[in-house]
Point group: D2
Chain length 284, copies 4
Amino acid sequence: MKKAQILLHCPDQPGIITQVTNFITVNKGNIVYLDQYVDNEEKIFFMRLEWELDNFLIPADKIAEYFDTLYAKKYNMTFRVYFSDVKPRMAIFVSKMSHCLYDMLSRYTAGEWCADIPLIISNHPDMGDVAKSFGIPYYIFPITKDNKTEMEAKEMALLKENNIDFIVLARYMQVISENMIESYPNRIINIHHSFLPAFIGAKPYQAAYQRGVKIIGATSHYVTTELDAGPIIEQDVERITHKDSVNELVRKGRDLEKIVLSRAVRKHIEHKVLVYRNKTIIFN
Amino acid sequence: MKKAQILLHCPDQPGIITQVTNFITVNKGNIVYLDQYVDNEEKIFFMRLEWELDNFLIPADKIAEYFDTLYAKKYNMTFRVYFSDVKPRMAIFVSKMSHCLYDMLSRYTAGEWCADIPLIISNHPDMGDVAKSFGIPYYIFPITKDNKTEMEAKEMALLKENNIDFIVLARYMQVISENMIESYPNRIINIHHSFLPAFIGAKPYQAAYQRGVKIIGATSHYVTTELDAGPIIEQDVERITHKDSVNELVRKGRDLEKIVLSRAVRKHIEHKVLVYRNKTIIFN
Amino acid sequence: MKKAQILLHCPDQPGIITQVTNFITVNKGNIVYLDQYVDNEEKIFFMRLEWELDNFLIPADKIAEYFDTLYAKKYNMTFRVYFSDVKPRMAIFVSKMSHCLYDMLSRYTAGEWCADIPLIISNHPDMGDVAKSFGIPYYIFPITKDNKTEMEAKEMALLKENNIDFIVLARYMQVISENMIESYPNRIINIHHSFLPAFIGAKPYQAAYQRGVKIIGATSHYVTTELDAGPIIEQDVERITHKDSVNELVRKGRDLEKIVLSRAVRKHIEHKVLVYRNKTIIFN
Amino acid sequence: MKKAQILLHCPDQPGIITQVTNFITVNKGNIVYLDQYVDNEEKIFFMRLEWELDNFLIPADKIAEYFDTLYAKKYNMTFRVYFSDVKPRMAIFVSKMSHCLYDMLSRYTAGEWCADIPLIISNHPDMGDVAKSFGIPYYIFPITKDNKTEMEAKEMALLKENNIDFIVLARYMQVISENMIESYPNRIINIHHSFLPAFIGAKPYQAAYQRGVKIIGATSHYVTTELDAGPIIEQDVERITHKDSVNELVRKGRDLEKIVLSRAVRKHIEHKVLVYRNKTIIFN
């Protein structure tokens, strides 16, 4: 059954839940999901609502307009409407490591994700065979310091051509330029191989080893122009001991990275992530 | 600011959220918490709602009556209303082990729990000094097979006299009789020293050691007449290795037991647990 | 550099470590790993030892014989010697689910495991394409109640022909017969989709949902003739809530299953698992 | 039965384990624990050894001397010998928060720790009653910026007088001076309320909230002259969500802090921590 989802936030005030749920109900929509949250420091109200469209009186393509007119302007809301029958289109960026790529593609192939993956982009040829074995087009852009602007322009043209909604950096070892980041605000998902904000930047496992931590982590976040500082979507950790060499940390970390990244991607696909001021609200 | 909390469940149908939130809003209550859940197998709707009473038009002592008349009968709801200024009164039952007792009393003394603990009951004198150091009356009922009915009758009289709302078994090593359990339905909280339903009954650490599990656990649940089979409130686990003797499991398990029990007690105190057919809905 | 590994156990008595380490050292081996453990209930001594063979005076193919003569008979030891340049050969058994298979093959392809996988066996054709994309021969044995003995005989002939050392059941949905189990004692690794010994048998996620547990798990163990009761190699868990339907448990469980199974397989490949009386000693 | 424990490290070379275990065995000691570790980057060998002294030929008070003469000089070892019948003496420093203090004292009272706690020191009177209820002398040193040198001198005199071996800072809100730190090298244990090295310094929960992390942590470490940068003994973490306010993080963090600190203290008491270049080797 086709459903609509709405994610919204606005300055908090009494009566919003009542108004919005009333809007759904009087128009004969059946609410199947509601979660709300009030940030009591910033006095902001957040909500995710999902309802069945079968008998809904307002046509799907008019919902956003009506909602805007009737509620969003009144409450100064920021909102987005999604539909369950529209699959988000994702592009994967990868370099030489295969673990995150395999993890995502095996979920995709098994039908675990309601999304399309029309293409994989890389700065190296190494993962081409993997892409091929899953039947996904693989494009190589051998980015160097000198050709970066030009290469990214080509990548962005390709993304546009394929109607890509969001990008997943599956251990992609190139820094994305500001221009590209700003074209996909809160729509580029990265996996950083540390428990952020510890060990920002390169070689976090080396740094974790040097510091002698007893637990390592991985962090999936939206990419912003500040390195490893974007809104965190998901994190997880694993216990280690002094016996683990840097190589062992790298190996154990791979399992964290792939699971954490795939969890974050799923949340994004399901429209359960709302970003506000560099933090995420994750609806469950 | 005084708040009301309502926990309810009823057969699912469209419009309930809208109706109930509307009831709060039109009567000038400000909703500060709403969480709902639909059990799609049983087709049951569950909700927890919290609102500020400052300008609420219906007097606090009339809320339950009005809600019953206007909504509960209509939707065939089961519901309870709580108020933030009414502290639940809890009794602790303890035997000879101190770890759960200390954990709870140190939280209580630090003001972590919105509850009163007017008394501690035991079948042994051992914990009397601990109770005394926290200034809480300690009653000893040396239960034996022969005097159990009589002793429990006395305990229940004492509980009634002290207006006890719920009981926490802090590693209390006596089986509670059916009669007493039925007097406190879903209001007796136990901590079992295993990851239920594994290792039901006596000596779970011994059993875990024999089976060679790699993880041990603890489970807090409401007591029902079937041993260790009541609705689970909270569980947690800890990794172990073959090097851990039974004594080590007992030692590591104590940390699990005290943390898991105290988390469950907190959830109960905050009226965030709803029981339906031997399972719990835990609102967050 | 080529290394030898020895795993041994024997009745505990003073001086064993000294004797055995002395044997390595006087023969010019350099010990690079030593871990030992004494089961104080059973009074059994366990040890894993690894040393570099470069200047070792005893030829590799004579080590077992010498060790047997000099120490094993004297101390009543059970022991096995392994060499770092001999890759164990593993067969994967799979049915229709792909998550464990992909996880293992992606590690294998990435060179994460020091093992060979010469073949995959299934009772269904579904995973044939996956096997093919990794270049591994795939054999289908459509086992039914009636042809089981015959089919297993053919499987075992195939395993023998391929010099298979151990078998991994990657969510293989057929019960292995006693005859086959006894041919591979402690060399068939299964993944059970629950936190054993809770929820033995079929449909553990359904059972977990019914019981209302707050944590689900997965267990990798060696297969014995008693169902889901063999020596546990590895377990892990994941927190769930009342909001998780059975389907959600199945989905979350898949991540547990694949990680837990792959960790167990790795331990087995590295000769870090020693079985004694239905329990494992896992060296780290 | 009285046991000796030795912790040692030295430049790695072949034969050390054999030599040292031989020393114990030929002198009729029974080894009951041996764990070793080689840091392959620094080429350093670490070992912890424990043996029964019943028939040991060398008198307990001569062991260190003999070991030094026979092995330590030869291998350029750093080592320490401990005896199971000598209880380490610990001092607790506390300010106004009770959760770590209660956790430690309840373990101490229950006989969980083989240690003596002859005194508690504070810069505030608040915890005096808690100390009293456990029968432990409580000394108040109201440190200010102006009197710090003088006050610490008095504290150190008191510690010396009481033969204190190590100090535990149980959420003690004063920075210890360099002078005092250097008097107790790797013998002052602190609990920091974050997952170090993230959120060093004051108000880590506030910082964690601002960053929007999905997991919080606590870290127990030895105090060095660089703030929150000493060798890490133990860490643990807890999952949080966007719904957790700073106050909730503080509350959830308390459970982490007390458990992590008490685990670290236990490891120290059991002589299972060896510090090398700002990192710990934790024997299990």
